[in-house]
Subunit: 330 residues, 2 copies
Amino acid sequence: MARASEFETIERYFAPLSAAAPGAYGLSNDAAVWCPNDGCEAVITTDCMVAGVHFLPDDPPDLIAEKLLAVNLSDIAAMGARPTGYTLAVAWPRDIDETWIAGFSQGLERAQTKAHVSLLGGDTVGTPGPLTLSLTALGEVPTGEALSRSGANPGDSVYVTGTIGDAALGLQVLIGTLEPQSAADRDALVRRYRQPEARIGVGVGLSGIASAAIDISDGLAADLGHVAKQSIASIEVEAAAIPLSVAACACVDKEPALWGAVFGGGDDYELAFTASPAHAAEIETLARSADTPITRIGVIKNVEDDEPGVWFVNPDGSVITIEQSGFRHF
Amino acid sequence: MARASEFETIERYFAPLSAAAPGAYGLSNDAAVWCPNDGCEAVITTDCMVAGVHFLPDDPPDLIAEKLLAVNLSDIAAMGARPTGYTLAVAWPRDIDETWIAGFSQGLERAQTKAHVSLLGGDTVGTPGPLTLSLTALGEVPTGEALSRSGANPGDSVYVTGTIGDAALGLQVLIGTLEPQSAADRDALVRRYRQPEARIGVGVGLSGIASAAIDISDGLAADLGHVAKQSIASIEVEAAAIPLSVAACACVDKEPALWGAVFGGGDDYELAFTASPAHAAEIETLARSADTPITRIGVIKNVEDDEPGVWFVNPDGSVITIEQSGFRHF
């Protein structure tokens, strides 16, 4: 398909994504107008993805779009906020095919419909380099109620949503270093890498309950490490309590070294959070209402002589030695 | 200088730029919290720049940073809004030197101090391609008072700030297709291309006065064309009234073909706006208080049989035929 001009491309593929937001002026203005609801303040985050670094260049364009939106909405969710809109900057190779753009905009449409957000504005430019995408997501949270990484208190429980490690294993499948035993396991892991889901419902529900929260993008160890450092706390995680999918279980049972992907792998975009034990029942209720598993995996301890940090322990309390490196992109 | 890790780079060079915004959490959180003041709504815009496309790869890093911020703040100004903060996504080549990053952050600091804005968050990633920068600027405007491109009415005067065409001529100097007669002219034109200034003071003052506004990024003809199209209006510009700098005057006097750069060249980041003649005195006062020349260059006419559009006319009313192409990047 021949390439339309920048203006035609915006009008055809992107302006429809702004239709539900009157302040976006159909993407025809210099900027968009938007306001958090009364009693709320705005939450804003920006994440960038580069072809060949954050996704595989031949990944389907609709899935790239869905992931780009999901990783940003995940940051909004980790603040306990409700996402409302986003802007988009795309630098694409000049020879990009219009079918690619069409697929990308379809992925955005699917993802934004599900998340109840609208495109508010952005910029498209050509680049001699790889496709480079930057998305800025906006959300709103009751004033003063935003979650941060710094509020964990000794005695708080540590929770995660969903299952951990699938995305890192899925990436290993895609780059050919892991071959699961069944096609179903293979598909399940790849889907988790390519199509992460922002835990929006849980995030919104955590405002007023969680003492600290983060989304797992760099890996469980690295991201809990951020919470530990900023809360000046020690986090003890019972390795056996970490929730694994059926597919991940099958992989680590066969090859225990793959536990490294569970502790250290990134890209799951689950939420990790801390909360006082007094909130345990509310958290169970939230898991049911958001239809999302929430699992208690550990506890916040006082920092004593040590640096703030994260320890994974066996059922007998012995510490598991792992490389606590964050996710390394391929 | 050796390259620090991503976390060290953020802490050393970018976190200080967020110091004045408590909601940025020192860039240590998933997202930032921010709120427009009471009675205001938020304005948001995103612009992207690629090395070799929007700036020359060996341009000084501090000037690239200043320009990146300026082009976004210019969009905020064109909405009649006051800029307040921004997020930044940087995809830089893996071998980028830390001195480059230091220079870039110094440019940001200078520009944000001048504009009274703070860095709120962002993302830095590596890329195998050219340096790619995306900035999202936030501002605030009294609720319901945001300017758009669609409000121009027949009889309104058309104004521009500053002088027109300098940046396009400056780019010609930089790529070697124009050699001004004096070194002072050369420097003045190059400075306009490399160091555009967002007309923040005028923009804020235009809220409640202008009927439509836009910043001149694609070129006077193209950008007034956007206003004409969206206001469904015809715009008549007296070519002789277009304000030129001393340096630009010298160039077009010697080589009249360079008028093409005045009509069609981009990157000036001046404001063009329309206002009822009833506001003429207020606009004079605004020009003085913002210490920025504002020049009346034309008038909005009814669309009669023609399509909405822009006509440049001679003093005798005859129409000047020009290629009304927007700015083409090198």
